[in-house]
């Protein structure tokens, strides 16, 4: 097994901000990565898409930074940056030459401490239109583009925080107001709801002093409103189905299973089973559907990595043009049933583990991606250092645990199929 220890030093500032330092002097660059524990799950009714719209507003300036100046200052310093929003978190990140570390900290601190003085109706209107164009680009004008919102809607009950659209509806985006911006900021963008990771080429004492100087005086928030109970039964209890007619040339099936949240012992079995089913051309789905039966052009499987309540294991298989949706679905289901019947082999487990290990080492090569992992583990699991246990936790999953897990969770009573069919032949597969 590949053994890699990422150095991790965690400190919590008096205002609740968790600071993680991880040194690596291989290249004179440094990553600053800030996770706010808020995502679309925290949106209130009638305001879907707000967490993501707010992420855009965070690049529109703060007390000492003009609109879009955050981008310009980081790029002028020779750095890269962006942010992203997910169901239960939002992240912001910069990677810069190491001597520019404090610039990134200052920019992040200025907007955490002093965002609202810079907000205007005009900026909100502009970003609302930008986001509407993002929705057109990634969802409405893209074959299969609605799967991002349809699959969670199918798999989580209507009142569940993961049920609704992350990018939001046009109607809700239109309804968002400047008051919503202020309220969201005061509620969630507080030091005690954030994790700040600095990874790369720095001196620890200097970096710690910089973080304290920039973030130390920001007051703690009033506390995050709790999410509703997100516990669900271990399985769907039925086979949920949805057929979507879309402007596509070939059917595509998303077959999802409810699994325990990321971090649970059984989640690691799901992660390896996902690789057995759908990582690489030698995986079961790819070998059977793409190579042998030639019904599909692509077949993969992955977990959503949700850390609250429950997660999803998803098989994503695209048919060859001309192959009927029903044929595709039957062939995928036959592979799942075969796995339930015959179990998995030691060779399949070893293959899955080897692929995981290479991906893991590759995934910590850049300081930016390493910092993001550390923030993720601190936010979701409460301890960034747990990242170093990931390879061992995967390696600890034996064949029996994988088979037991498959038999408990891949049954017909725990399936959700979202099936895209070309508009012209709609109805054939239903």
């Amino acid at each position: 097994m590949v053994m890699m220890r990422i150095p991790v030093e965690t400190t919590t500032l008096p205002n609740g901000l968790r600071m993680i330092l991880s040194r690596d002097h291989a290249t004179p660059v440094v990553a600053v990565n800030l996770w706010y524990h808020v995502g679309s799950a925290n949106e209130r009714e009638g305001r879907t898409g707000f967490a993501h719209l707010f992420e855009h507003m965070l690049f529109q300036g703060s007390a000492q930074v003009a609109a879009n100046e955050h981008f310009e200052l980081v790029q002028r310093a020779g750095g890269t940056l962006n942010g992203s929003t997910w169901l239960d978190r939002t992240n912001y990140y910069e990677t810069l030459p190491s001597h520019q570390l404090e610039l990134a900290l200052w920019l992040e601190a200025d907007r955490m401490a002093r965002l609202l003085p810079a907000m205007t109706q005009e900026k909100l209107d502009t970003q609302r239109d930008v986001v509407k164009n993002e929705r057109r680009w990634s969802v409405d004008n893209q074959p299969y583009g609605t799967w991002w919102e349809r699959l969670p809607a199918l798999c989580f009950p209507p009142a569940h925080p993961f049920h609704h659209s992350l990018i939001g509806s046009m109607e809700h985006l239109t309804a968002a107001s400047l008051d919503d911006v202020a309220e969201f900021f005061r509620t969630y963008y507080t030091p005690d709801n954030a994790v700040l990771t600095v990874c790369g080429d720095f001196d620890e004492a200097t970096a710690r002093a910089m973080v304290e100087r920039q973030f130390g005086a920001i007051p703690r928030g009033a506390g995050r409103p709790p999410l509703p109970d997100m516990t669900l039964p271990p399985t769907f209890g039925e086979w949920k189905r949805e057929v979507v007619e879309d402007a596509v040339v070939a059917p595509r099936l998303f077959l999802a299973f409810r699994i325990p949240p990321a971090g649970d012992d059984a989640w690691y079995a799901a992660s390896l089973l996902g690789a057995v089913l759908g990582t690489g051309e030698g995986s079961r789905l790819s070998r059977a559907l793409v190579r042998e039966q030639q019904l599909a052009s692509e077949a993969t499987a992955f977990t959503f990595d949700l850390a609250k309540g429950s997660d999803l294991l998803v098989c994503d298989v695209t048919a060859r043009p001309g192959v009927a949706a029903a044929t595709l679905e039957a062939a995928v289901v036959a592979e799942i049933d075969r796995l339930l019947r015959d179990g998995v082999t030691a060779g399949e487990r070893a293959r899955a583990l080897a692929l995981y290990e290479t991906a893991w080492v590759s995934g910590i090569q850049s300081v930016g991606s390493r910092a993001d992992k550390l923030s993720q583990f601190a936010t979701y699991r409460g301890d960034a250092a747990l990242v170093n246990d990931e390879p061992a936790r995967h390696a600890a999953v034996g064949v029996d645990a994988m088979v037991d897990f498959a038999r408990a969770r891949l049954q017909p009573t725990n399936r959700a199929s979202l099936l895209y069919v070309p508009r012209a032949v709609a109805g054939v597969a239903a």
């Binding site: 590949v2 890699m4 291989a26 290249t27 004179p28 660059v29 879009n68 790029q75 002028r76 310093a77 020779g78 750095g79 890269t80 990677t95 030459p97 190491s98 001597h99 520019q100 570390l101 610039l103 900290l105 200052w106 200025d110 401490a113 502009t126 930008v130 986001v131 164009n133 057109r136 409405d140 004008n141 893209q142 074959p143 005086a217 920001i218 007051p219 402007a247 596509v248 040339v249 070939a250 051309e281 030698g282 070998r287 190579r291 030639q294 052009s297 060859r320 043009p321 060779g347 293959r351 080897a354 692929l355 290990e357 290479t358 080492v361 590759s362 090569q365 850049s366 300081v367 930016g368």
Partner: protein, 457 residues
């Protein structure tokens, strides 16, 4: 709470691109090794002088199909067995073709390198190309093409190339071949292409990561030392535009909520002496988030989620293109703004601040871009492909910082030309055609989404 003032930068720490070691085997194969011992990981890449640009008419896609079929059988091992062996080593063989080279690569953990390297070499030197597997890969390519043309972005990119280049020019057709050309390819053609072009004299093997030059040399001698054959393909004639002057094409995509816009013309070859000023010029125009085009279309007008421009660098002159997707109703206004920004770039020199933003960004991100073994291997492969001098990477940052506003203006005047722009919109013709025609920049040529200009009778 007092607000800390904007901090000044500390002292820059020195950066060195990984040291590069070169070696040639007795049979002519070139080996390039860059040790990066920070993590137990190695990327292996083979670059073969067998790119798509020189494919014969009617055979477009043969370089891609050959590369994608390499691992479908080697010596006594069949494709399924090879896949299983690679994956049991935690890696996958990735074969592809670019305009100027065919490429094979894998990334593997150090302890599994020897076994993976031997398999990698076997796949390159003794592929069997079984008929059934070549046929399957061919059909997969046809499926991929159908998916690409069903996507507004894929369709716009494909049609832009098709309308831009003269029909007899290879660049008018997709890198991986068209439905028409790919349908005619088979195992006989693939075997012939491999036999003609793959060999030690046309191949460079790049090894980057946790390995010494001596160890890489030993591996290469063992695995490739006995290889023979291969000749470089004939050079491609210079690319030609389909037509002189400005052109306006609407490709119909009924009820599309957005128009995919492509505006540009034929650019310059990668080896052009103006390469660095062009890169800086493009950064200011549309290459950066804070570029003129993105700030105009996204932040000022909110027409789009994003807009960018770029040169597609090849041995021949590839396209220069501005790409964006805008709400259908503002298609005409977006075209006006794009043409205006291209024109403004040639009218006056950019400010010193604009130039320093681009040069400081490009120089600064250089070490960030090359943190991974795969990225360094890719850069070294590119340097080989384009024949860049050995000191390219060690001098890049100083040379990019030396570019001046006058250099940028000269590059824009020499290499941007809105008068010969092809303006292409994939969108809802019922909404966009009238306003586009009213601009009066060129007559509207309207096409159905199926009309492939490169394949037209």
């Amino acid at each position: 709470m007092s607000a800390p003032a904007r901090p000044s930068p500390g002292t820059a720490r020195p950066y060195e691109f990984p040291a590069v070691h070169r070696h040639a085997l007795a049979n002519g194969l070139r080996l390039v090794v860059a040790p990066m011992p920070r993590l137990p990981l190695v990327t292996v890449l083979a670059l073969v002088d067998a790119g798509a640009a020189t494919e014969a008419t009617g055979r477009e896609g043969i370089a891609t199909l050959t590369a994608r079929t390499l691992a479908e059988g080697a010596g006594a091992l069949d494709g399924a067995t090879l896949t299983a062996r690679f994956e049991s080593l935690g890696t996958a063989f990735d074969g592809s073709a670019d305009w100027d080279s065919s490429l094979a690569r894998l990334t593997v953990t150090r302890s599994r390198l020897e076994a993976a390297f031997a398999l990698f070499a076997a796949v390159l030197t003794q592929p069997t190309f079984p008929e059934a597997d070549v046929a399957r890969r061919r059909d997969e390519r046809l499926a991929e093409l159908a998916q690409q043309l069903a996507e507004p972005r894929g369709l716009a990119d494909e049609r832009f190339s098709g309308f831009l280049h003269a029909r007899e020019c290879r660049y008018a057709r997709d890198l991986a071949g068209t439905a028409h050309s790919v349908a005619g390819l088979d195992a006989v053609a693939v075997r012939a292409f491999h036999a003609a072009h793959y060999g030690p004299r046309t191949t460079t093997v790049v090894v980057v990561g946790d390995i010494t030059p001596e160890a890489a040399q030993r591996l290469a001698e063992q695995a490739f030392g006995g290889w023979t054959g291969g000749r470089a393909p004939a050079p491609m004639p210079a690319p030609r535009a389909a037509r002189e002057g400005r052109r306006l094409v609407v490709v119909e995509k009924a009820e599309a909520p957005q128009s995919e816009l492509r505006v540009g013309h034929i650019g310059v070859p990668r080896a052009h002496p103006d390469y660095l000023p062009i890169v800086v010029m493009n950064g200011i125009l549309g290459g950066l988030f804070s570029s003129r085009i993105n700030l105009n279309l996204r932040e000022r007008h909110a027409f789009t989620y994003g807009a960018s421009s770029g040169y597609d660098w090849r041995r021949g002159a590839g396209p220069f293109v501005v790409s964006t997707a805008v709400k259908s109703e503002v298609t005409d206004r977006a075209v006006v703004e794009i043409l205006r920004e291209i024109d403004a770039m040639r009218t006056a020199a950019p400010t010193a601040s604009e130039v320093s933003l681009a040069t400081e960004y490009l120089a600064g991100v250089f070490p960030i871009r090359y943190e991974t073994t795969a990225a360094v291997a890719g850069a070294l492969a590119g340097a080989t492909m384009f024949g860049l001098p050995a000191e390219w990477f060690s001098t890049y940052r100083a040379r990019i910082r030396a570019v001046t506003p006058d250099d940028v203006l000269a590059a824009a005047r020499a290499h941007l030309d809105p008068a010969r722009a092809l303006v292409l919109a994939v969108g809802d013709a019922a909404v966009i055609e009238g306003p586009l025609a009213a601009l009066g920049i060129a007559p509207v040529e309207r096409h159905a989404s199926e009309d492939d200009p490169a394949e037209a009778p």
